[in-house]
């Protein structure tokens, strides 16, 4: 399929994407091993069938031209018409089946690609999401999938159909007359050049148009986001004149792109007509001067060759025209396909861990694995000699000389060592960019450390299976993310098998039960758009409840910086405190009260620990922490 289309049409455009097209085809073939080849067969079959009627038409014309009487030829004509009718019926059946199958294949392929892409996305490292613009990831699911739909359902079948027709026509033409074929082919070559020239110009300006549109969109978004600030500063006129500039350049690019695209049709159409005239003249000349014909058929030039030849010329150019219409769609579709494949090919998070987390119970003073939930867990550690040891999950986390950088050459953490014994609270304090969040990102292995060691209950965390590691860690993030679904669903997200009672108990612990029961539908209230119908404080309470239902031995809390009023803050604070009881907690602190109540306070500055100790010790030391505490620095 790919070879065929690449060979005949816009060579430069399609050829370098052949690999992509081939891959797409293979993928589709694996989705529809029977349906797809059958559909392709139907397309080819149909386009061959469609070029046959011309032969029978010609036969009829020949009969008529022999000036017969109706009675003599009626049976022959009726036979020919009957053959035609059955060909048409075949073509109709093929057309119908093809169209119906194509609907299945297109939508099915898109669905499978979507699911595959989404499935792969779930396992991509956090780094991917930090490095790629979310809007850009989204557009693969929306714009790129849409262009692919256009390409699969229309452009590619059309291309295949036109290519088959062109091949069939070419063979017949050679069969009839080589010199006249040469004329047609040279005309077609001219058309190809024009398609490439104009099509290329059109593609160039369409690309420019997209860039201009992007700029305009960015500007409009920024201004409208700050529309209230614009009003407060009476900045409307300036905004309008800036917008006009961008709008004008978008207009110019769009106008050029569309002009190119619009004239392609009339030009090709009429070149086709002129080519027709040239072929007709050539035919006439050959006829009149009785020029010897070169052909496979071996027949001399006659009316019965020239006339069908003229019709075929028309069909030939018509097909070229059809292909030219599909080129833009195919170029865009290929670009979309590439982006989709890129996303599907992004390597998943690597995980070489083999230590797993299991439910455990104590038998005869020894820890053993058991299938049911006991509230106790153990790390199951298989060794090379085949033996297995169990270590109780306690929540002892230690960092040894940890170095880390997000980008090469820009170290974020230098030589960080710290420990948290089971049940201890460790607070991180420091300015934005000091490395507080980074440390927590390393503990749950959103990122992997460059140098040093992190041990969890004495086990190197690189040996622990990521899923099990994360199961043992709870997390409450600064920006709360809730999912579309009921309040109950959102709490249960922490532990899918939790009963309603357990979820409610978690909500009570977090202090969220109070506001939930006052919602119109209580725990069954639907949340949409990240819980936009809840206040900031309420969303935080829900995320605390969600962590509480998971009940992990180690918690990472990132306190919110946003200003919520004092009363809600007190409730959120109580929820956080309740959650911390009996767990090892790492907290990125923004509230002095949280910091004060921690067992260890770690003050970070530019990726290094500059102070550590309890509140009283640090106050007495009169260092950086003291300055922070007395309000001389911003606590961020």
């Amino acid at each position: 399929m790919s070879k065929n289309s690449a060979g005949k049409s816009g060579k430069t455009v399609v050829q370098n994407k052949k690999g992509l097209l081939g891959r797409l085809f293979k993928l589709m073939l694996s989705f529809y091993p029977v349906m797809l080849p059958f559909t392709i067969f139907l397309i080819i079959f149909n386009s061959v069938i469609r070029s046959l009627p011309a032969i029978f038409q010609q036969k009829i014309f020949e009969i008529i031209e022999s000036n017969p009487t109706w009675g003599d030829v009626s049976t022959r004509i009726f036979t020919l018409v009957a053959i035609l009718a059955s060909l048409y019926l075949l073509s109709l059946a093929a057309d119908f089946t093809f169209a119906q199958l194509m609907a299945f294949i297109t939508q099915g392929t898109l669905k499978k690609l979507r699911v595959k892409m989404f499935g792969n996305m779930q396992y991509l490292p956090i780094k991917f999401f930090d490095q790629n613009d979310h809007g850009d990831i989204m557009s693969r699911y929306t714009n790129d999938i849409d262009t692919l739909r256009q390409m699969i359902s229309q452009s590619l079948p059309q291309l295949l159909m036109s290519a088959t027709s062109i091949t069939t026509l070419f063979v017949i033409m050679i069969y009839l007359s080589v010199p006249m074929t040469v004329i047609v082919i040279s005309g077609v070559a001219l058309m190809t050049v024009i398609v490439r020239k104009i099509g290329g110009g059109s593609a160039k300006y369409f690309f420019k148009q997209q860039t201009s549109l992007g700029k305009l969109e960015g500007f409009a978004e920024e201004i409208m986001n700050g529309e209230k600030v614009v009003k407060v500063f009476c900045h409307e006129e300036e905004a309008k004149s800036d917008f006009e500039k961008l709008n004008q350049s978008l207009f110019e690019d769009a106008d050029r792109a569309n002009k190119y695209a619009n004239i392609l049709g009339p030009i090709l159409n009429n070149i086709g007509n002129i080519l027709y005239v040239i072929v007709a003249l050539a035919g006439g000349i050959l006829l009149i001067f009785n020029v010897p014909n070169i052909s496979l058929k071996g027949a001399a030039i006659s009316i019965s060759i020239v006339v069908p030849f003229l019709n075929m010329t028309k069909q030939f150019t018509g097909n070229i025209n059809q292909i030219s219409h599909q080129i833009n769609a195919i170029v865009m579709g290929m670009a979309g396909t590439k982006r989709i494949f890129d996303m599907m090919d992004s390597p998943a998070e690597a995980d070489d861990g083999y230590v797993t987390l299991v439910n455990a119970r104590e038998e005869n003073g020894e820890l053993t694995e058991c299938p049911e939930r006991t509230g106790r867990w153990a790390w199951k550690h298989p060794h090379q000699d085949g033996s297995v040891t169990y270590t109780e999950l306690q929540g002892d986390v230690r960092l040894f000389d940890v170095d880390f950088e997000y980008e090469e050459g820009k170290p974020v953490l230098r030589d960080v060592s710290l420990y948290a014994r089971p049940g201890q609270k460790v607070a991180f304090v420091g300015a934005t960019g000091a490395g507080k969040t980074t440390i927590t990102n390393l503990i749950n292995r959103f990122y992997d450390i460059a140098d040093g060691k992190i041990r969890y209950d004495g086990i190197n965390i690189n040996k622990i299976k990521k899923n099990d590691l994360r199961h043992s860690l709870g997390i409450v993030l600064q920006d709360t993310n809730l999912f579309t679904g009921t309040v109950m669903d959102n709490i249960r997200y922490g532990r899918l098998e939790a009963s309603d009672e357990e979820c409610i108990a978690a909500a009570e612990l977090a202090g969220a039960d109070d506001f939930i029961t006052r919602l119109p539908d209580g725990y069954s209230t639907m949340l949409r758009e990240n819980g936009s119908n809840l206040s900031q404080g309420q969303r935080q309470l829900l995320s605390i409840a969600r962590a509480a239902v998971a009940d992990p031995p180690v918690m990472i809390l990132d306190e919110a910086t946003s200003s919520i009023d004092t009363r809600t803050e007190a409730i959120v604070q109580r929820g956080m405190d309740a959650l911390m009881v009996g767990r090892t907690v790492f907290v990125i602190a923004h509230r002095l009260s949280t910091v004060k109540n921690s067992d260890v306070i770690i003050v970070l500055d530019h990726g290094s620990i500059i102070e550590r100790g309890s509140h009283d010790e640090l106050i007495n030391a009169k260092g950086q922490y003291y300055q922070l505490y007395t309000g001389a620095f911003e606590l961020e």
Partner: protein, 584 residues
């Protein structure tokens, strides 16, 4: 709706009107071509001399060239007409949005406005281009081909009277059946996409709870659902092609059988072979233009939704109007509220502010404190007429705010909004929002007052440092200080800070307030804060509670008489006391 949209055609009307003229010429020539071709074929067959063939061929080539010129011209004019229309539409929408009041802005989300400005306008542009070019071309083509078929084929033309309606009705029924299905599937599709967005945003949560498989399963089910509905809708539309083919084949069979009969029995008098093959060409033209029409029909229906959404923006009228004879001078910084009540929309059941009576002298410093939802922000937004009071009167400098020229009022009352923003551009450019003509000295002195100068000087590019969109490359506290400096540059009579120092450390916060007291004593200052420390030294402090003024007084007075104030004060200062303990 159409009337509303057509207002944006303006200077591109000529291009829009001339396009159909070119298209008509093109269509006439195109329809005449098969006629000439039939002649040519007959001439060749009759063994006519080369000069005759050359002559007819010449005419044909000439017609093709003219048709090419007309077609290209139409392509040019319709491109300009539609792109120009889209440009004006965007321009009108943007201007309209700039005229919106806060109340209008609240009704639309930014992302929906951006989509309307880009995607929706593009849809309209494409439909418009279709209408002025193809939508005229197709019916014309249909009519001319019809006429030509009769001219050439005589009685044979009647077959089209039979077939065209069949195809027309068939295509119409298919579109009609498919459209509602497409509409509903597009809605589902949108939901699917928003769930992807949610997943991407919440990826940290997904991963930390190890919910990858769960999310995948959830998505599969939803994708399956969309796929099923989409397939059904597409299968209906997929009937278009075979229907069209069926009609074409029916015409072919008819023409060939009865055509042959006519040619043979009348000895080529009523119909000759050339005409017969031309007839076949016309039948193809007619049916394919019908097909085009049905495609346009679908496209226009889809663009209709977009047009609706665009019109919503264009027809939204600003709820605030400049008065007829506005006052251009603000006498003083005095603020008076006389029995003011306010609600955000007419439909709202509860008033956001209720019975506010408040009188502030020019030059006074007022602190405002209260819980979330106590309407602190609502109160101050009435002063610079960001919203209009529902009942009662708000006066600035003794004059009702509704009597001022809006720009005059807003230049005298400078508000630092709670949700404040910097725009992409240098620090200087951002600050000049306050005053276009501010000198460098003025900018620096405003920054000194707002304690912004100290950190700006540490940047390598100082005042020319580029601020990223949304101000992401400065910290929260720095952003707030820049916003205060920007507001100070207006040299306002009244300065309002709506929780504008929440991310600034307490020492700097105090420094800013001291500087304002010293350098702009005559300016009335209203300070909304969460921390009591930020308002302790104000002349008077207003305590707001669910839309009412609960208490007014100095810090000392309020500690004694206001329960709310005392509670807030204690909860914030307890953590500082020696024996510790968290807020309870």
């Amino acid at each position: 709706m159409l009337k509303q949209l057509s207002k944006s055609i303006r200077e591109y009307k000529k291009a829009a009107l001339i396009t159909p003229v070119f298209v008509t010429l093109e269509v006439i020539l195109e329809c005449a071509l098969p006629f000439i071709i039939a002649n040519l074929v007959n001439q060749i067959k009759a063994g006519a001399g080369i000069d005759v063939i050359l002559k007819t061929g010449g005419i044909l080539a000439l017609m093709s060239l003219v048709s090419l010129a007309c077609g290209s011209a139409a392509g040019f004019t319709c491109s300009t007409a539609s792109c120009g229309f889209a440009k004006n539409l965007r321009s009108d929408m943007f201007a309209k949005i700039q005229s919106y009041s806060f109340e209008n802005i609240d009704r639309f989300s930014t992302s929906s406005l951006v989509t309307r400005l880009t995607t929706d306008v593009s849809n309209i542009q494409n439909a418009y281009m279709m209408i002025i070019r193809t939508a005229i071309r197709s019916p014309l083509m249909l009519i001319f081909a019809f006429i030509m078929a009769f001219v050439m084929g005589g009685k044979m033309g009647w077959i089209f009277v039979l077939v065209v309606p069949i195809l027309g009705v068939g295509l119409f029924l298919i579109s009609k059946k498919a459209m509602p299905r497409f509409r509903s599937v597009f809605k589902k599709y949108d939901n699917l996409n928003s769930s992807i967005q949610e997943n991407i945003k919440g990826m940290r949560v997904v991963k930390s709870f190890v919910r990858e498989d769960y999310e995948q399963k959830k998505f599969s089910t939803a994708a399956e659902d969309v796929c099923r509905d989409f397939t059904v809708a597409e299968r209906i539309v997929a009937l278009n092609g075979p229907l069209m083919q069926f009609c074409l084949y029916a015409v072919m069979i008819f023409t060939l059988t009865f055509g042959s009969y006519t040619v043979i029995t009348t000895m080529g008098l009523d119909l000759d072979v050339g005409q017969m093959s031309a007839l076949l060409t016309y039948s193809f033209m007619m049916l394919s233009s019908l097909m085009m029409l049905s495609m346009i029909f679908v496209m226009i229906t889809m663009a209709e939704e977009s047009a609706k959404r665009v019109c919503e923006v264009l027809s939204e009228e600003s709820t605030l109007e400049n008065p007829e004879n506005p006052v251009y001078n603000v006498a003083s910084g005095a603020v008076d509220f006389d029995n003011v009540s306010f609600k955000y929309s007419k439909k709202a059941k509860k008033n956001a502010l209720e019975g506010i009576d408040l009188h502030i002298r020019s030059g006074e410093t007022i602190g405002i404190i209260g819980g979330t939802g106590s309407s602190k922000s609502s109160l101050i937004q009435l002063i610079s007429r960001l919203y209009d009071a529902t009942e009662g009167e708000v006066r600035v400098g003794g004059v009702n705010v509704k009597d001022y020229d809006l720009e005059t009022l807003r230049n005298s009352v400078s508000v630092v909004l709670q949700k404040n923003l910097l725009f992409s551009g240098t620090i200087k450019e951002n600050l000049r929002w306050g005053n276009k003509d501010a000198t460098d000295e003025e900018i620096i002195s405003a920054c000194r007052m707002a304690c912004a100068d100290e950190f700006i000087e540490t940047f390598p590019d100082k005042y020319d440092t580029y601020i990223e969109q949304g101000g992401t490359n400065v910290s929260g506290g720095q952003k707030q200080r820049l916003c205060i400096a920007r507001a100070l540059l207006k040299k306002p009579k009244i300065l309002i800070l709506d929780d504008s120092t929440s991310a600034v450390d307490t020492k700097t916060d105090a420094k800013i307030r001291a500087a304002m007291r010293r350098y702009i004593p005559e300016t009335t200052k209203l300070i909304i804060a969460q921390r009591t420390a930020s308002v302790e030294d104000a002349d008077r402090i207003i305590v707001m509670d669910s839309g009412h003024i609960a208490d007014i007084g100095t810090h000392e007075e309020l500690i004694k008489k206001s329960d709310i104030y005392r509670e807030i004060y204690i909860s914030q200062n307890k953590a500082d006391s020696k024996d510790g303990g968290e807020a309870e």
